[in-house]
């Protein structure tokens, strides 16, 4: 059966890195990078990845891409004859081109969107695709916080091949993370969770997940979700943090939920959704007993301070450190082995109280003790 793959290359991704800039997002930085003598690196990496697809049987793979430096050049350089969609202003491509390209590929119902770039590129793809199609990143950018990228271009190609051949079939919701722009403007460099995309689940080939395998992601999530959902206490306010693992619990409770936001649950009912710090504090005033349910965010292993800032130091202090329930899949925790979980609440005293060890639920009644540092 013919398989369809969509290829997008962000031609300017990665130009900032070698010349010491934090990314290439934004026209000013790009100009500065060019002045400093930056050369495009992403195209070469894309070609390395695309060459791995040569193993696919002749005629059974259709490659869709965007014109010239956004994929066409690279696909041809790798020895394929692509179907070219859309149009671009060559030499002056923008994030909007990436978004449009992803939308056009989605329209072609490709089996996999295979894109080269960095965190900014992943965000653009996310804006267009969300979880509607399988995607896989070829790491070509300066910043790679997102878990949608393979460990290197060659491995990206191999994983794409194995996915298209049906050898890897499981898809995993993986974090798209990028610099928190608001914080960055205040001179704080930190990553923020922007959303999730579905990538082929082969841990050994993906960023930030250096080892471990054996459990299907869905089955693992199901066990944790069941445990938390079945053991929900009566008359207790549950502050449900963001992320796909917590969403699993909400799905088990058959409650509507906010993937990137915080929802409140009381006696198995949704009390309020997508709440900010102020709203959480107001609700806390009304109840006597509360818990926070959060998951570990990103490959770096953040508990607080990335993507769940609504659960602020004030909120955490009110709820109490002992009332925090952390959930994560075994694969995630095993892949973090050798690191610590991280907390960055912005409150040093609270950070100190959270450090040490945290119990993380990883299955039905199963947990691990994991070190936490700030």
């Amino acid at each position: 059966m013919t398989k369809k793959i969509g290829v997008i290359v962000n031609p300017i991704a990665g130009m900032g890195g070698r010349v010491g800039l934090k990314g290439s997002d934004g026209p000013d930085i790009l100009e500065r990078a060019k002045e400093l003598g930056a050369q495009p690196e992403c195209p070469d990496k894309a070609i390395i990845a695309l060459r791995q697809l040569k193993e696919f049987n002749e005629g059974s793979l259709e490659i869709y891409t965007y014109p010239k430096e956004m994929g066409e050049n690279e696909v041809r350089a790798a020895g394929f004859d692509p179907i070219v969609l859309g149009s671009i202003d060559s030499g002056h491509t923008t994030p909007e081109d990436t978004i449009q390209a992803a939308k056009d590929l989605l329209g072609q119902k490709v089996d996999l969107i295979f894109f080269a770039g960095g965190d900014g590129t992943a965000r653009n793809i996310l804006d267009a695709v969300h979880e509607e199609a399988a995607v896989l990143g070829i790491p070509g950018g300066t910043k790679i916080h997102s878990a949608v990228y393979a460990i290197n271009p060659k491995t990206a190609g191999k994983l794409a091949l194995e996915y298209l051949q049906g050898k890897v079939r499981d898809l995993k919701e993986s974090e798209v993370m990028d610099i928190d722009e608001e914080a960055f403007r205040a001179d704080i460099l930190r990553a923020k969770l922007y959303g999730y995309m579905k990538v082929p689940n082969e841990h050994r080939m993906m960023q930030n997940l250096k080892s471990g395998r054996g459990y299907g992601e869905e089955a693992a999530l199901d066990l944790i979700s069941r445990y938390i959902a079945f053991n929900l206490e009566e008359n207790v306010l549950y502050i449900m943090g963001p992320g796909s693992t917590v969403r699993g619990v909400m799905n088990k409770l058959e409650l509507e939920n906010t993937l990137l936001g915080v929802d409140l649950v009381y006696n198995n009912k949704l009390l309020d959704k997508d709440v900010n710090e102020e709203k959480i504090l107001k609700h806390l005033d009304r109840y006597d007993s509360y818990r926070i349910v959060i998951t570990v965010i990103g490959g770096q292993g953040y508990l607080f301070g990335r993507g769940n800032q609504q659960i602020s130091p004030k909120v955490i202090k009110r709820v109490g450190v002992k009332n925090i329930i952390v959930i994560a899949t075994k694969n995630k925790m095993y892949s973090l082995f050798g690191q610590s979980l991280l907390v960055d609440t912005g409150d040093e005293e609270l950070n100190a109280a959270l450090t040490g060890y945290m119990q993380v639920m990883v299955g039905y009644g199963e947990s691990v003790m994991f070190p936490v540092t700030d």
């Binding site: 050898k167 079939r169 003790m369 994991f370």
Partner: protein, 527 residues
């Protein structure tokens, strides 16, 4: 053989053998069973009719209908596709303690005086085997320092389940019913988490510190968190990566201080047999994998046995029956009101106990100690050779801790350099006549793992041959990675068409019926 030999021309037998069901032709028979004589039929009547309706089959049993010649050909060919396990270079199975099983012990269990004994017999008529069980229990008590043993568990996991059951019976006997949590460590045998979990306990697993040692600070936190809900701790020592827990006395003290019990999984006992004992470590219970440490066949070659032992204060909770001696005869004691019950029928896998008793008696007390010493020596020698291979290292390489009788290695460097990881090395090593090695339990904690355990029965030449084979594969990975990535080339084993299918319950099948239901004729060779 006194010299190592790299088998570059090795080739395993490979028969293109369909499944036995595919041979089936309706109406074909291997044996025609004689009709029952009329006198018997008249006397007995319709036996099936005497069974309750609910347990009678509605349809006839679907068995493969095959003639004698093809049955013999089929199974003979399958026996040739085993890589000569047990008599070939079987160092590979770390944590499994694969060692040579003396043929003398096999002769003993085939002897008519043993083979025709049945556990339903009156104890008076099986004094011999009861005596062997009793005497082997005395040996196990001496080796471990525990006060009593049961051999009822059918394997290691079963023994751990038995421990969890004794633990619960003990706490409940004190009216202490809230203890619902057990602690274990990530490099203990996975059954130290799974078996207590199956027995109903919640499980907390501790990760090690940066040196790979069970983390005492994490234990403190877990104990603080569970408080009087802690039933006990289940830990393997030395752990599956080959490192002893140097803080074992502190672990035991802390768990005891909150009323918990301590259990030692001694599946890796080859490291210390006759050298140290569970009693001196302060634990309350332990088990040995008789089919590992005591030289009886392992895995597909024979049934297992988990010898479970405990201190005096727990003996009343042991499964029943126990085997007793009144000074003149051996008997089964079923009158044990505090026993938690049974984990299995009867009193243990007799063939395993007979073999193990013979093995232990052949070695004697000093011999058992030699087993441990030679295993450690073999391990250290092999480790020294292997660590010279480019691309190979061991986990927690720089922690300065000497490994015992097994080591968890890592091919992470090779994977980074060449794209060849442990799965591929494993398959290619088979092309040199090395049975596939044990990587690690899943999910992996150590990247690209390989766990080897060269027990006492391997010669220096065996160790060197093993080293030469792995070295050859690692060199191929650097010079011709495709060769390794596409292995096996000279074995009966195949590369899975689609490894992801193993994770897919809609795809794998444990019976022919399920296989046909899920796949139809898709994979059937004989149409």
């Amino acid at each position: 053989m006194n010299k190592p030999y790299l088998r570059t021309d090795f080739h395993e037998a490979r028969w293109d053998e369909p499944m036995i069901y595919e041979y089936s032709t309706p109406g074909t028979r291997g044996i025609l069973i004689p009709e029952t004589e009329k006198a018997i039929v008249d006397a007995v009547g319709d036996v099936a009719a005497s069974l309750p309706e609910s347990i009678r089959r509605k349809s006839s049993l679907e068995l493969p209908e095959v003639d004698q010649k093809h049955v013999l050909a089929h199974y003979l060919r399958l026996t040739q596709e085993t890589m000569g396990s047990n008599i070939s270079n079987d160092i590979s199975e770390g944590t499994c303690t694969m060692k040579y099983n003396p043929r003398l012990c096999e002769q003993l269990v085939m002897h008519d005086d043993f083979a025709y004994v049945h556990p339903e017999q009156d104890a008076e008529t099986m004094q011999g085997i009861l005596e062997i069980f009793y005497k082997f229990e005395q040996i196990m008590k001496e080796v471990s320092g525990m006060d009593r043993f049961t051999f009822q568990p059918g394997g290691g996991n079963h023994a751990v389940y038995c421990a969890a059951s004794v633990m619960r019976a003990y706490h409940e006997s004190r009216g202490d019913t809230k203890r619902d949590t057990a602690i274990t460590t990530i490099f203990s045998h996975p059954c130290d988490a799974a078996a207590p979990h199956t027995a109903g306990y919640k499980i907390i697993t501790l990760f090690p510190d940066q040196n790979g040692i069970p983390d005492y600070e994490a234990l403190k936190k877990a104990v603080e968190k569970t408080g009087d809900h802690l039933a006990g701790i289940f830990m393997t020592n030395p752990e599956d990566i080959g490192i002893y827990n140097p803080n074992i006395d502190k672990f035991v003290e802390l768990v005891h201080s909150v009323g918990g019990l301590c259990y030692y999984d001694q599946a890796n006992a080859n490291a210390f047999l006759g050298v140290v004992r569970a009693r001196e470590a302060g634990v309350d219970m332990c088990h040995f994998n008789v089919h590992k440490t005591f030289g009886t066949p392992h895995g597909g070659e024979g049934p297992a046995n988990g010898a479970f032992g405990c201190r005096e204060f727990l003996t009343k909770f042991l499964p029943k029956p126990t085997i007793e001696f009144d000074g003149s005869k051996y008997y089964l004691d079923c009158d044990r009101p505090y026993s938690f019950g049974k984990v299995r029928s009867y009193f243990g896998t007799a063939g395993v106990i007979l073999r193990a008793y013979s093995w232990a008696m052949m070695h004697g007390a000093e011999g058992l100690k030699t087993v441990a010493n030679v295993s450690v020596l073999n391990n250290n020698y092999l480790e020294k050779l292997l660590l010279s291979i480019k691309g190979l290292s061991r986990c927690f390489n720089d922690n300065g801790i000497v490994r015992q009788e097994q080591v968890r290695y890592t091919w992470e460097q090779l994977k980074n350099d060449t794209g060849v990881g442990t799965d591929e090395v494993n398959k290619r090593a088979g092309d040199y006549g090395i049975p596939w090695y044990w990587a690690s339990h899943h999910p992996w904690v150590i990247p690209e793992p390989m766990t080897l355990e060269p027990c006492e029965s391997y010669s220096k030449a065996d160790l060197e041959e093993y080293y030469l084979s792995l070295k050859a594969v690692a060199e191929e990975a650097y010079t011709n990675p495709e060769l390794v990535l596409t292995a096996p080339h000279k074995q009966a084993g195949y590369n899975l068409l689609d490894p992801a299918e193993l994770d897919n319950p809609d795809s794998w099948a444990m019976t022919w019926k399920a296989f046909k239901r899920k796949h139809g004729d898709k994979y059937v060779k004989v149409k």
